[in-house]
Symmetry: C2
Subunit: 362 residues, 2 copies
């Protein structure tokens, strides 16, 4: 096999594949990248057992080949190449990589030892890759971390002829992104949060082709194909916990609120849920925190409306920060009471909704 | 005490002081910053026992004060402040920090518990802060790491009426920076490498005032004062090991060589000193490396002169890379033989000299 590729293109593709393939593994075959040359294209694939990935680049190749090589070393060599073009030649159990005045010969590993991830040849459906990425990226933060029940560590994706919706919750907060357009298929699945991150990274422009089979989601976008194992179990009934009635709404610049919360929270007690207190009255929002080092406060002007003229609540500062980071421009906060969930929404992007449960103020 | 300062100025000063003060310590008093207000200035000081630092900022203050507070929390609050001005008020065992609509009250610790670093009131001599920084920064990399004898883990500074010179060596390589101008004092001292880094950071423009007393170096540059404990012991006689006779000199662009060495070295055997081989003949330099993953090579054009027409040597790639990083523009490599030290010099900056001992090629 002999072919020539643009360095930038190859380096980008390898960077994506390398992210999935483990640098070290008790099973050394798992840290190998599989290179296949066939039908005018070269594909690079690998797996970490939870996620399979393949990048396929069109290339003139004379002969077919299937080889395996250490993924990290290959990536390191390619990124450092001096020229804009890379020549790849497979010969005598070696891959020769040439670029400018540089050449390297990488010893090949046994390709029969590698996993051979299988990707669908036909996909059941397609939807907008950008919409899918946007939905997943807006809610990812609200998934639970390790110590929780497995199903909370995933992002639920609802695909129907009415909407494409992503939801994540850890029981104390929830994030929700709803695109009210037909998504071309009907499915409710839960994707592990780590896989959501990787999947977001391969989603480009145009269509994302989607397949569901045997508790596995397969997505193809541009030159990338990815399979991710899904979580099994009952995702909590989130719709019932989102409040519908509110005693107060306020709106203000999201970035200003985010910065004030972060500033005040330096004094918050880390052992007591990073508690910060909010007090709203007469078009002013006052944020305070108190802990072992001292106390902080900051006041911001807001627009305020609703049946109550004042309200006092406490939150985990981190939860407010995470929710606000997804809002550009004006944020709208809606309070259903001092102990029931509050909503944070984006005025510019009505698809996004975040819910945070206040801390008990006793 | 009550005063007002520019946030940027205060944040910069605290960042320098915070670098020295340990975030956590078995002796909690060590993680405190000492703030003193006196004679129209506020000073912030701290210590890690090896290094003392003080930053002194001119400020209108009404009353004198000496207080102590947790350094990291103070720095975190100041960096996050919303306004350009910061008001500091000491009252009732608290430091109030106000900026814009934000205010915090930090609880004070007992100032009598803190170390009170003592800095000279008069300095013996002064020299160019930029020269001192340049000399230290060019040689720091060649100091030995932990497993070596203590004296090799320092940078020797020679101050005399003929020169200001910094030298570091780990026995396998050496870096040397010599400014052939009177340095205003006579002293040979060895500064621990970690302290060299911190000292470089406080050196600004203009004069650095210098004092030597009781195995301690004190330097004042701009608003910063620093004391560093010196290493005791005999620094090796480095002059005798620098070769004077050469069989070949080559010159080429330092960055091109650095990149080629790094590229080829990806294949070098990490368990065998990161060995790369150089072969020079007929105006060409060929670099090769071979290890468990395969082998690499690259050829570069060079200017070549000397009594030998060809030479083959091996080096630790890291050592060549470190030495070349200090050279801008053309580098000149001088070879005294295949087993005796080679020199790397900068054509643009003749003050710099680096020596690397080749690996045995057997």
């Amino acid at each position: 096999m002999r072919t020539s590729l643009a360095k930038k293109y190859l380096a980008d593709a390898l960077a994506h594949v390398e992210r999935i393939i483990p640098a070290r593994s008790s099973n050394p075959a798992l840290s190998l990248l599989r290179l296949e040359s066939q039908d005018g294209a070269i594909s690079f694939s690998g797996s970490n057992l939870d996620i399979d990935i393949k990048a396929k680049i069109a290339a003139d190749t004379e002969t077919d080949a299937v080889i395996a090589l250490p993924a990290q070393v290959f990536g390191q060599v390619v990124r450092a190449l001096p020229g804009e073009l890379v020549e790849l030649v497979v010969e005598d159990r070696e891959l020769e990589i040439r670029s400018g005045s540089f050449a390297t010969k990488l010893q090949l590993s046994d390709a029969s030892q590698t996993l051979e991830p299988s990707f669908p040849s036909n996909y059941q459906s397609h939807l907008s890759a950008e919409d899918l990425a946007k939905a997943l990226q807006h809610v990812r933060y609200a998934a639970a971390v390790a110590e929780y029940q497995a199903i909370f560590r995933g992002v639920k994706l609802e695909l129907s002829d009415r909407h494409l919706r992503a939801i994540a919750t850890d029981g104390f907060r929830l994030a929700y992104y709803n695109i009210a357009e037909p998504s071309g298929m009907n499915a409710n699945i839960v994707i592990p949060a780590r896989s959501v991150e990787e999947l977001s990274k391969i989603l480009g422009e145009g269509d994302a082709h989607v397949n569901l089979d045997n508790n596995q989601l397969s997505v193809k976008s541009g030159i990338y194909s990815m399979n991710v194992k899904l979580l099994e179990g009952d995702f909590p009934n989130y719709e019932r916990v989102i409040p519908q009635h509110f005693v107060m709404h306020v709106s203000l610049d999201s970035k200003a609120l985010l910065e004030a919360v972060s500033r005040v929270a330096v004094m918050a007690d880390k052992t007591s849920n990073n508690r910060i207190d909010l007090f709203i009255k007469d078009g002013h929002l006052q944020i305070t925190a108190e802990g072992g080092y001292g106390r902080s406060q900051e006041a911001l002007g807001i627009s305020q409306e609703g049946t109550e003229s004042e309200i006092a609540l406490a939150y985990n500062a981190r939860y407010l920060e995470d929710a606000l980071k997804q809002v550009e421009g004006e944020a709208r906060l809606s309070f259903s009471g001092t102990t029931s969930p509050s909503l944070i929404q984006s005025i510019r992007d009505p698809n996004y909704l975040s819910m945070v449960v206040p801390l008990k103020t006793n």
